[in-house]
Subunit: 130 residues, 2 copies
Amino acid sequence: MQKQETLSKNQKIILDLIEKSDQPLKAYSILFDVKKKGINAPLQVYRALDKLVEIGKIHKIESRNAFIACKNSKCQIAKATVFSICESCEDVTEIHDHKLSEHLRNFKDSKGMKYNKYNLEFFGLCKKCI
Amino acid sequence: MQKQETLSKNQKIILDLIEKSDQPLKAYSILFDVKKKGINAPLQVYRALDKLVEIGKIHKIESRNAFIACKNSKCQIAKATVFSICESCEDVTEIHDHKLSEHLRNFKDSKGMKYNKYNLEFFGLCKKCI
DNA sequence: TTACATGATGTTATATTATAACAATTAACA
DNA sequence: TGTTAATTGTTATAATATAACATCATGTAA
Ligand SMILES: [Zn+2]
Ligand SMILES: [Zn+2]
Ligand SMILES: [Zn+2]
Ligand SMILES: [Zn+2]
């Protein structure tokens, strides 16, 4: 079987929903919303989420246990992500900063570890909440 | 009442345990271990963990839902953390890299957000697991 | 010293997030 | 066409985390 190019039915339903939201969605809120489309169990949601994360269509915001669509065509693989998170209104934005990415991509620690992925989350207050 | 300087009984018990481990511990594994010391409920553990995180004695590894002691006297406040995580053996190390910290501390996004905290997790394979 | 405020504790119950295990179906492909 | 891998559906359960309430201890101030 060749590598999947098209999304499956459940994957499409769930990606659509996440893409329509500009903010991260939680798994059980997704579940609630897709029940009308015949997706009834948490596992169906988590399986689709896993796949979508794997192929880089969405990212997981680890500190929030929530999922947001990737709007950057460049990060087709979710291996290098940077987010800013407002601790007041919980607004989340994916950051694409070339200089920062370079710096992180080139980072070498003192232990000779080989990195293939990173996730950076900045916390603070957005303009509206300052 | 002035700001607390000494840790409470439960906080001490739980910090001791985490400091004895060089690897992150999960809340319910902590709970299991401290039952012999009279801590019986998850909430007692989570309350101590919250406090210890707040004062910078421990850090939460967000992608693993686990807690590790801070061994750096400088990061008394858990506001700027960098970790390397081996995806094979799950070994976690806190990274203190001056240049990287500077870069992250000085990072300004295009939206004018005011940051007071960040957390960066690198994933890969450690020397033993390559 | 009495009242008050704050922080910590103990306890029961419950909410939230995520996976195990198994059976059935669908889609690519040799 | 038979084989394999991916996906789906379903039930149950594991793992992570918080709500709500009562009590106790300690520092501050009238
Ligand atoms: Zn992205
Ligand atoms: Zn905000
Ligand atoms: Zn630290
Ligand atoms: Zn390793």
